[in-house]
Amino acid sequence: MQELISRLKELLESGSVQRVLGWKKGDFTFNPEPAYFNSAEELSEFVYDGFCGANLSKYMIKASNLEGVTAVLLKPCDTYSFNQLIKEHRVIREKAYIIGIGCKGKLSLDAIKAQGVKGITDIKGAEIDGDCNELKVETLYGEKTVSYKDSMLERCHVCKGKEHMIYDELMLESADTLDADRFTDVEIIENLTSEDKFTYFQRELSKCIRCNACRNVCPACSCRKCVFDSTKFDSEQKANVDPFHESMFHIIRAFHVAGRCTDCGECSRVCPQGIPLHLFNRKFIKDINEYYGVFQAGEDIGQTSPLTDYTLDDMEAEERR
């Protein structure tokens, strides 16, 4: 961690980058926020630990319009998004100095609270230099210990690997967190009856408050004007009286990012109602893999996306599973 900060200082002081895009300490140990650092002094507030889950690739869309080079800290999974954004001409490669940083799994405060922890005032053990096995949680109601693994975001259990797809330099160690298959949940739902599928998604989607956090955080949702913001198209951006519109929003959004979604899991991380939005994206990814060959968006800039491609003997819709 110290070496990372020294390196960032060096980059800023030498003038090779104009700013650093990283995370700033919050008022608790568990709520750091994405932030720009313009000088070495400002780095005193810099932090990188298990709570820095935000995918900074999305912020690079705006940072690409800023003067000079931005040093951006990207975790392995974030680099997929960055690649995808380069492919879509939404970020400028030359404007970014990518420091690929290690990751030992990112934490979810909700997952910690779900283990029956209330009134958290401090959490120790999330430091990137540590071994990330256990979290010591100080609460208003006494101290508790929870396992790091049980406190991770869902996406870290199905990690795509700790290899960076694009970087200028690499720093900090990673630790493997993969311990589940990402399509398991999708398969479970696929095997339900139509009625049960419907009931399941209705329960989940009925919680949706149309805050649009999933859309705004999504690196693939980088349209300047979203179809759901259009006033002319009669597509509802806000909650309508009938719940149909929430279903439509999530289906269409998943469709619009199909073939471009890198499965970074930000949508599920930010959802204030804890809707497992990744289940939509992973369904498309799974279908694409099965029907048109295994494809991982953001892995390789040169690849053609499955939805802008075809073969003469693609399967027919009626042959779908």
Partner: protein, 343 residues
């Protein structure tokens, strides 16, 4: 003072809901939100904060206002009927009750919003004291007393029992309705509980949050501050903070064409959305910095200026919990007091 055993609560809910709608925190798909009670609902009074606040009982996220049908050149407008039946809102925390008082200032000030007014008049609020405040709570900063929230009925959990005190005539009526399940109790247990809550309150991380420089006359001083230009940067322009907030009242009016008539509905809107102020003649606030500033200026400066110093924040801490970018009103308040102190 009355009491009822925890294990008998289900009977209480069944009894209340037999004659009227009962809104109560219900856990569904992993999250707790207010919902209409049914016999198979998973009531969850242990979760301190529902994701959405209780404001939706009075000011629903979306509601139809009227329907227009057109026949040849004739237009017929049918107004949606106003709430006409009493309902009970159970388990409301002090912050949400204060939130309702803030919304009253908006919707019950002239011109009165009759849709809101009708719901407000028909709602019976059963308040619940916060036995276990959490780290993001700072309601005391805004003058809320979580040890004894003011509702038609106030309740406390203590040990095996839920203690029950009616405060208003509406509350007395509800108490009478439930009398067969409630037994008499003395105040001692409740006093003890209040003391124990107070002890926790003093240890809350935000206990010493100061609003010193925030008041109705602070417009000029705060509006032009350079701090906004930094504070807004993590903001994703989503509406999470506004939709979980008990006091945010901005709404949009939209038409929905059903094919057999146009329904006009009202839905929550967020001042954080990029096209919020996009109107027929352009946009008042074109940058996210302006929109971000508007939200906090409105809550801490403009609203008190119009409402005898009452802030449009109640310190529930939902935005602290839910903001996807971990930026929130507390960080804003702290950033400004830091600036004052460093001067």
């Amino acid at each position: 003072m009355k009491k009822i055993k925890r294990e008998n609560l289900k009977q209480l809910f069944d009894l209340i809901s037999s004659g009227q709608r009962l809104y109560i925190p219900i856990k569904k798909a992993g999250q707790t939100n207010y919902g209409i009670y049914a016999a198979d609902s998973r009531v969850d009074l242990d979760t301190l904060k529902t994701v959405k606040s209780s404001k939706e009982a009075f000011f629903p996220q979306s509601e139809t206002l009227y329907t227009v049908t057109k026949e040849n050149r004739k237009i017929k407008i049918t107004q949606q009927e106003l709430e006409g039946e009493d309902f009970v809102l159970f388990g409301v925390r002090g912050c949400d009750i204060k939130g309702a008082q803030v919304l009253d200032r908006v919707f019950l000030s002239s011109p009165v919003d009759s849709f809101y007014e009708a719901r407000r008049n028909h709602g019976i609020i059963v308040a619940l004291a916060c036995s276990e405040p959490e780290e993001s709570c700072f309601c005391t900063t805004f003058g809320v007393d979580p040890t004894e929230p003011e509702g038609d009925v106030t309740t406390w959990f203590k040990g095996e029992y839920l203690y029950w005190k009616a405060n208003t005539e509406k509350g007395e009526r509800l108490t009478a309705l439930c009398s067969e399940l409630l037994t008499d109790a003395d105040e001692a247990a409740v006093e003890e509980e209040k003391e124990s809550i107070k002890a926790i309150l003093s240890r809350l991380p935000y206990a010493d949050l100061s609003l010193e420089s925030w008041h109705g006359d602070a417009t000029n001083e705060k509006f032009g501050s350079e701090l906004w230009k930094e504070l807004y940067k993590p903001c994703l322009a989503c509406g999470t903070c506004t939709f979980v907030c008990p006091t945010c009242q901005c709404y949009d009016l939209k038409d929905y064409d059903t094919g057999s008539g146009v329904q006009r509905y009202r839905c929550w809107d967020s001042c954080m959305y990029s096209d919020f102020t996009m109107m027929a003649h352009g946009n008042n606030r074109t940058s996210q910095m302006q929109r971000f500033r508007q939200r906090f200026m409105h809550k801490l400066v403009y609203f008190p200026a119009n409402n005898d110093g009452m802030y449009s924040c109640v310190g529930c801490g939902r935005c602290v919990d839910k903001c996807p970018a971990s930026t929130n009103i507390v960080k804003v308040i702290k950033a400004f007091s830091k600036e004052v102190n460093s001067k």
